[in-house]
Subunit: 798 residues, 2 copies
């Protein structure tokens, strides 16, 4: 979906989508009956029958069918093709322009909104053919209609083979998050599918199945045909089945609303939120998410006490601007990822991963190793999230260093890192971060490291600059502006110009001082390019590169090796100085536009850690990838020398299968130039450039430059890959406790009425004085432009 | 599945199962063509056509069809019902006994084994109706055939609506782990489904779609009908399509084998295993898992260099006796859990959980809180695994205590626990365990606690006893035998008899000494009843109960409260002394037969941690549940006083939805008496007993008693819920480094030929001198009995 389309939910309009288990199972008859009976029971309400897309010259006939058999019910068609075949073929054959999916859905939504505005009532939307019959664009209906998330009624197949058809059609809906509220079918007495299905759906899903007599066989005489049908309709209409179905659907509609309405309150009573000062968060601050698709949540707009409620949309599209804590790559509810997860669940469930191997874990390991293009890496260790994966990396690195330098286990080894580092919330990962408000009140936190200051990159006053904080200029120089961000990333050219000299001197002298003070370092840990949780700080890549180079070329700054490293001449992949760990949990796997941010630096880690985007944003999984030399440190005849770490769900097949699918998909998108539109918006993608220095973002270059010129409110901004960060001016002193970004965040969260597709807003998170907006790998140019405009407008207005 | 049935895989027999997207799509015609063309191309091989179940009096006719149109191909039917309708109805109507699913599958497997024994060749198995058409027992075929995991060919539907039917049928197979290697259908030129489906399957799954001309319309004259059909078959047979399909199928068969054959080697080159000394693990020690179902993996039996290979089964059923590191509850590849996971994936993917709420997280929290029946608990905090969940619990508990007693943040608070404790592998969780071989070589490990000794429970010499290690008898007394395990769990009666007095005195005096030494405790952490990773130690429940009671009634042993606890009279849920944390990750959620092991102790925690079985064994998820009073400790106007912990995938909807499904399913099983068979095997379930003391296990009481009498090899044994632990005698001194259990483990892992269903073995893990076997909540009496016999036999033989 390119543009947001809000799901169809109004308080007084009960909307049901009618899907068929197959063609010719009686969808129209059932829908007619539902509408007709609704009209009888809710005499004063508007009852509408919508056929979003209709093929064949039958529209008029159908219209007559409705006006004859369901008087008082209005019938509408949004797209009519005269050729009697599947909509995708009919649309092509019609010669008319084929509506894009988002246009199609907007039109459905606009129609429903009109109905909702009129009065209380029912809207029955009948789909065409079976659940997976293609819509006009060629996308199957089950995929096409997902964003509307309309509760559904499935018309089962009462014929021979119909049990199978009904269950399979149901499953295709279910795995796309549809709620099927009722199954209806004819009660054929030969096959008795209704009996089997009744038990099946009750037992497995608690979904009611209702059945009706079959309609009369067609008469050759149209008048007698119509009479027989009228007799059929009036008998079934007055019977208890259809009214019972409608009553159940109504209850289900009310239950959905009351569940949505109560959820924030219930959550405030029983949920303990991560990273949240709950005394500041009441039910009204809790966002209720009904579902999500692509880049958008569907969030509840709470009932307001005043005003008419029948026409107010209950749900709006909320752009997920934190990419759900930086995890989203291929969009929420991506069917390919769902199918991958379900395949692995169906094939394995979970299987123990101690001296066993299964295909998803094997292929994922091979795909990651190949994809990273880092010859140092050869071993994959799986865990559950970035924090645990970092703990694994630390255990690996500390042991390797301790062995190399002949130190005892209790030597209080330190990590070398950058100020503002963040590697997760388990104690071991916390201990790798310098003391700060994230950890200083945590009882067992103990910062075990030395953390360097560094120059950062920002676009300021329209110019890309390496900026150095006051007080650090003696160390790092005055900072400097560059013609382009590419030039900042051209680290080799900058080295040729000697720009790294000051960095080198500072790092060496710092490490020397540490050594003199007796500090023993175990490992160098970097978040390459961007320190995310530390406030979206974009580190000068030349600084990180220089740091790695100094560490590797200066083993004498760390200790006297007792175990000789392989000769570099023999093994280019041997680590020297300290093992270098890259925490790529946030910045890796295309978040910054490349599969690994190492390639920006031109230096490669001995251990790298990957999570978040690893599964495209679906389930927790982490891979800690290490060099063979690090791995060998743990080999011994003694079991207890092994890396004694593991989780029950290590390498769980679902996670591995989804990760495999997601990485392959992102690699294919990269190769196929899916992000070319982004490259071409001022980032110079149209020019012939060397791969090493090519940078791009979904956020246009011009937009960043302009943002950075709003100097009364903005210190600077940067964009890379899918990430945009705006550092706002806080005259009271910036930092995590700053509130300057809150106002902007709240402005973005205001509900707006879209030109079409219904209300929308932006759901974003702030980090102190920084507001960031993170797209996914499938964010559309339209969404990005719309949000860019909104930001520009808001920053100018305040 | 009750009995193991090995998947159908032999090296020289290519087996394909033919599924139809619907009835009447040409399954028989395509299967005939495949068999006929195979016979033409592989003249010297055996080509077999199997119809496992056939309905209608057509068998003879079909047989003639094959002998006429595919001469040289043999045709077989395993179950024949003369009534022409769906197998489940035909089976009932036939009056014959309906085969249980495992019997049905065994028969399929035995037939395939016979084919494999004969010669190289092909076996085509044609299913009945559509993929979800019910088999004889009423289970749908897509569910029924899962354990055979036969690669499949899907016959698509070329008629109107057929696109939908084909995709839905495919999805029903895919989400059950089937590999569909090819899609075949007729190339109807009106609907052109083959074109759409060709693109669809290529783009989404890289699965080839091939199409053939439709067969001739039926003639009234049988002779001309046959002639026309023969002409059709011979044209298609000699064409390139069918031979191309067969060639692709053959390649796919070979690729599957070579992938399985190479995987252990590739794993040994690139995987870094958890908790594994890899110098001791070569490719031959790595178990290749092809798939899993119920309690069984399908594992590779590696090629042996000698002997004929054509008739050796490539896969065997391996009982997952570690329940995949204690995670499995509802069986591998449980379709209900798969569908739950896929529904949440389709509805949400993942959505951020900071001040948001979604239905699966809400319902799961409510279900857990209600299910635990512990009035203290009111707040659910989600994380990814037991280790992170324990870190959360520790952060919660330490803060509450620190505030209560007015201590500064850097007070080096300790945990109070039991020796041999294990709470996970992240550093914070490790620090809660006493020093031992699991952690002493880990650089950042620092045991932060005091750990008590305790008496244990074992069945020894046929008697249930509280046993006290030498050297502790002065403290805890001599230990004692009891009439039954129930009596040991009757903690109230034992208290009335004063059996807790020695425990109480010891605990109080120990805590007093700690206080005198200046130790500040932050939290009491217990694994209720069983210390799992610590060596399957079954702690005397009276000891744990006494410990909790002492801690709660003796706040003066810990500090001087500066913040008053609520008066117990006002708030029975207020914690006193120390917050009590139960790590129920292993022992909770029915692992020991009850939803929470707290009920065995009759004392309830202030914080409890749940993972592993939480999702029935499918995906990682953890819930740390806390009392409202603990929660309130973190409320303040200051953001940084919040519990600053969180993971990106906190409360991921897939995990929550699966957990919800799984807990509700286990609760329903409990209520419906699904484990009555286990209760009735000597555990006294047939007697009227008070709920408090009722204990049971899937392992029969008599079996445990007999095991414990093998005193030359067995120190003692115990069983509770699904767990069996055998403590083996190690004259060299027991412990984690002991190897005595390895021999028994290896004996269990030997491949055995089942009476039917093919080869099987037991895949189990040992903990030092302890061999444990853990069933799931769906383990069958048959499996348990078979393994019991095997154990008895092996312990007697050695």
């Amino acid at each position: 979906m390119k543009s947001p389309v809000a799901s169809l939910l109004w308080r007084s309009l009960r909307i049901y989508q009618i899907f068929g288990a197959n063609t010719d199972v009686g969808k129209t008859i059932f829908t007619t009956l539902l509408a007709r009976t609704a009209k009888r029971l809710w005499r004063d309400e508007e009852i509408t029958y919508l056929k979003p897309v209709s093929t064949g010259a039958e529209d008029e006939a159908d219209d007559r069918h409705i006006s004859r058999f369901a008087p008082g019910v209005s019938r509408h068609t949004l797209y009519q093709y005269d050729i009697p075949c599947s909509p995708h073929k009919a649309a092509i054959a019609s010669g008319k322009s084929i509506p894009a999916d988002e246009e199609f859905l907007s039109k459905c939504r606009d129609f429903a909104a009109l109905c909702a505005a009129k009065d209380k009532g029912w809207l029955f939307m009948e789909t065409a053919g079976g659940v997976h019959s293609p819509g006009p664009s060629g996308k199957t209906q089950a995929d096409l209609y997902i964003p509307l998330r309309t509760p559904s009624v499935l018309i089962g197949d009462s014929r021979l083979g119909g049990i199978s058809q009904t269950i399979s059609a149901f499953e295709s809906l279910r795995i796309r998050g549809y709620d099927v509220d009722h199954v209806l079918l004819f009660n054929d007495d030969v096959y008795e599918n209704y009996k089997y299905l009744g038990e099946y759906f009750d037992k497995n899903y608690s979904i009611p199945v209702s059945s009706l007599l079959e309609p009369p066989k067609r008469h050759d005489n149209p008048r007698r045909d119509a009479e027989a049908l009228e007799e059929y309709y009036s008998r079934e209409d007055s019977g208890e089945v259809v009214s019972g179905v409608l009553e159940a659907l109504k209850q289900s509609h009310c239950a959905r609303l009351s569940n949505l309405d109560s959820m924030a309150t219930r959550a405030s009573q029983h949920i303990w939120y991560p990273f949240t000062q709950q005394s500041l968060v009441g039910p009204r601050d809790i966002t209720t998410i009904d579902s999500a698709y692509g880049d958008f949540f569907q969030t509840l707009t709470p009932k307001s006490a005043d005003g008419p409620i029948h026409d107010s949309a209950v749900l709006k599209s909320s752009f997920d601007a934190s990419a759900s804590w930086w995890t989203q790559g291929l969009g929420h509810a991506n069917s390919k990822l769902t199918l991958a997860a379900a395949y692995a669940a169906g094939r394995y469930g979970h299987v123990i991963f101690a001296s066993t191997i299964h295909q998803p874990a094997m292929l994922l390991a091979e795909t990651l190793l190949k994809g990273m293009k880092n010859p140092r890496l050869n071993r994959v260790f799986y865990s559950d999230n970035g924090s645990t994966g970092m703990e694994v990396a630390i255990k690996m690195g500390l042991r390797a260093t301790r062995k190399r330098y002949g130190w005892e286990v209790n030597q209080n080894l330190k990590i070398l890192g950058l100020k503002g580092a963040y590697h997760g919330d388990t104690i071991g990962a916390m201990d790798c971060a310098d003391p700060g408000i994230y950890n200083e009140k945590v009882e067992w936190y103990e910062g075990k490291g030395y953390w360097l200051d560094y120059p950062t990159v920002l676009c300021k006053h329209g110019k890309w600059s390496v900026t150095v904080a006051d007080g650090l200029q003696e160390t790092f120089g005055q900072g400097k502006s560059y013609k382009s961000l590419d030039d900042i990333f051209d680290v080799e050219a900058r080295e040729e110009r000697g720009e790294h000299k000051l960095y080198e001197e500072h790092i060496i002298s710092t490490l020397q001082k540490c050594r003199e003070r007796g500090v023993k370092f175990g490992v160098l840990i970097l978040e390459p390019i961007v320190l995310g949780a530390g406030g979206m700080e974009f580190v000068d890549p030349l600084f990180q590169r220089t740091l790695v180079n100094v560490v590797r070329s200066s083993p004498h700054l760390f200790g006297e090796p007792v175990q000789r490293a392989s000769e570099p001449a023999n093994d280019l992949n041997e680590w020297t100085g300290l093992p270098v760990v890259f925490d790529e949990v946030f910045t890796g796997l295309y978040r910054l536009g490349r599969i690994t941010p190492s390639t920006f630096l031109g230096v490669y880690p001995d251990i790298s850690v990957h999570a978040k985007l690893l599964t495209g944003g679906l389930v927790p999984l982490c891979a800690t990838i290490a060099s063979e030399n690090i791995y060998k440190t743990f080999l011994s005849p003694d079991k207890t020398d092994a890396l004694l770490h593991g989780h029950s769900y290590t390498a769980h097949p679902i996670g591995c299968q989804v990760a495999l699918e997601s990485i392959q998909e992102m690699q294919a998108m990269d190769k196929q130039g899916e992000w070319d539109w982004a490259r071409f918006q001022g980032w110079g993608g149209e020019q012939k450039r060397t791969k090493t220095v090519e940078v791009w973002s979904i956020w246009s270059h011009e937009f960043i430059k302009n943002l950075s010129k709003q100097t009364d409110r903005v210190v600077g901004a940067w964009a890379l890959g899918t990430v945009l960060a705006i550092h706002l001016r806080d005259n009271a002193g910036a930092g995590y406790s700053s509130n300057v970004a809150i106002g902007l965040r709240d402005a973005l969260s205001l509900e707006r009425e879209g030109e079409s597709g219904g209300p929308w807003n932006v759901h974003c998170r702030v980090l102190g004085n920084v507001l960031y907006i993170m797209g996914s790998q499938v964010s559309s140019e339209t969404s990005v432009k719309r949000i860019s405009e909104l930001l520009t407008e808001n920053l100018a207005n305040h």
